[in-house]
Subunit: 334 residues, 2 copies
């Protein structure tokens, strides 16, 4: 990844950004693992699978239902709604730039996009399939998928591993480099407003960038404790501590309330906020994060500046052709 320490220093000298922080731009390609290089055929297949509701027990929920590629990569709901109207306790993270996450899910229980893609399909409250064997059987019955898997992986290519590889390959194309922020850091000093530059400086000054750094603003580290500072008022309102985070998976005391540091890219589009989606607006989210993580009370103007800056991390979104999903013989779901 391209680190712009020198430019940041230049900007600091110019008085534009007065706090030394390594502001980084988003690469224009997401890195792919050695065992799953991106190919056009794989990406096209992944796009089909990602948008196909027939990967759910009811035939109504696709990956895109909760991680909507037409929107900010999620569903603007506190908690997503899976098959038969069921909901869980966490808010769907955005799929945009998830290729740059160090781990996946709020509790980081998946190390890769490939591993992540396997989860929701058989989660009873998400896509509700009984098993991946059932998914594979359903895909094998659809002639168009036989062709698409063969093009991407060769004959007899329909299996769980290839399906999740294809979905991950597609997700690696869902990235938003060249935002206003990226242009600014790249040297176009007109790309941000004065208010946005103030917000940018403020984030470094306050220490937000201690966790939200790097090209995707998702940290040098994988996890952080949330809340770090206890606060009765916000706890009563939002019940942040009800969810044990990583400890829900590991059952270890030291993992209690540890959460993946989420990307701030496109955060203006992903209300409501926090792991449980209990905070409705970005203004409130900024205020709460400053208080609970940094023990700082922000003025309204400081919040407004930071929110203005965060808006510079939105898009641009690549144009995508709608996938054509292959036809199904007979009933698929009911």
């Amino acid at each position: 990844m391209f680190t712009l320490r020198s430019l940041a220093a230049t900007l600091a000298l110019a008085g534009l950004v007065s706090v030394a922080h390594a502001w980084e731009t988003l690469p224009t390609e997401a890195p792919a693992p050695a065992d799953n290089p991106n190919t056009p055929e794989k990406v096209e297949l992944g796009k089909m699978l990602y948008h196909d509701p027939r990967l759910s027990s009811t035939g109504t929920v696709s990956c895109a239902s909760c991680h909507n590629t037409m929107l900010g990569g999620e569903d603007n709901r506190p908690n997503s709604m899976g098959v038969n109207g069921q909901t869980g306790g966490r808010s769907a993270p955005t799929v945009w730039n998830s290729a740059f996450n160090h781990v996946q899910f709020w509790d980081g229980r998946a190390a890769s996009l490939e591993e992540q893609a396997a989860g929701p399909v058989t989660n009873p409250i998400e896509m509700g399939m009984k098993s991946w064997d059932d998914v594979v059987a359903r895909l094998k019955a659809i002639e168009g998928y036989q062709t698409a898997f063969a093009a991407a992986f060769g004959l007899d290519g329909i299996n769980k591993g290839n399906a999740t590889k294809a979905i991950a390959a597609y997700e690696r194309t869902l990235i938003t480099p060249n935002s206003a922020y990226d242009k600014y850091v790249g040297g176009d000093l007109n790309a941000l407003t004065e208010q946005q530059v103030r917000g940018m400086e403020k984030m470094a000054e306050l220490g937000c960038t201690g966790c939200h750094s790097g090209p995707a603003f998702n940290g040098p580290g994988l996890f952080q404790k949330f809340p770090t500072h206890s606060n009765q008022y916000f706890e009563a309102q939002h019940r942040f501590s009800k969810d044990l985070g990583v400890a829900e998976v590991t059952k270890k005391a030291e993992d209690r309330h540890m959460f993946k540091v989420p990307t701030l890219r496109n955060v203006a589009l992903t209300a409501p906020y926090m792991h449980n989606g209990s905070v409705n607006t970005l203004d409130e989210a900024v205020k709460i994060m400053a208080k609970l993580q940094l023990d700082k009370d922000l003025s309204k103007a400081e919040v407004a500046d930071i929110v203005a800056f965060l808006g510079s991390l939105t898009g641009p979104f690549p144009k995508q052709e709608m996938p054509r999903l292959p036809g199904t013989p007979g009933t698929t779901a009911n």
Copy 2:
């Protein structure tokens, strides 16, 4: 509409189609009403609204959820699933070529696409919005929709009438002319297989085309009684008579079991079949229709020929760019 009586006659003379029937091709543009001419801005806005789940109470169900433009224009379910996992008693009709329907809904209770588009949004088991006022308020709060409505309808253009006009305008672009059938009727005698031509002839000979005629195979008339011939065996299996059809709306005795004649375009992609989605395969649907509507028992070969022909009514589907839905300020739905 372009009627190919002369070509049909020529084909008949050539022995290719031996039954006199006016086979018609699908126009390459759908007719628009005088008060809602298609414009690119309107179509683009309609595409956004059509795919936007924020038009539902839960933020999870869009028009496209049940009338999937990436598939055969519906959801491959017996009955669609609306907000909170609710289901009704009817199977979603395809949106593809719905612009050529003479009336909309299975019971024909909407005279136009504009009128149809208004219905599901406030249906409690479909999209579940309390009122169109609530929909309009939600749209007005989204800056990108202010711009898109202004581009399509001028300032202060966000209202129910314009929203449904835009959706209808988009739907008028969802048509599939130039299928193999259309090419054949247009003179390309290699466009259909011999089996498909046999099926085509058989449909006219049996009388299927008495109801399923015209460019969209949805009749010269608006409604037909289904079932026409009572049959204990199929009734026990499929409960077709439970639904009173048009009479559910009009409460009139003469409207009992009257249903809109559905298009056969893309029927190979829209399993399961019939108004209640109780028939899983196209083979079975063809067999049942012949028995219940024409009192005829088809051989397996006849069914196979007709099904092969119906496959020639699939696509081709226009390439579409995925709409970008404008971002939402704060929570939209929960």
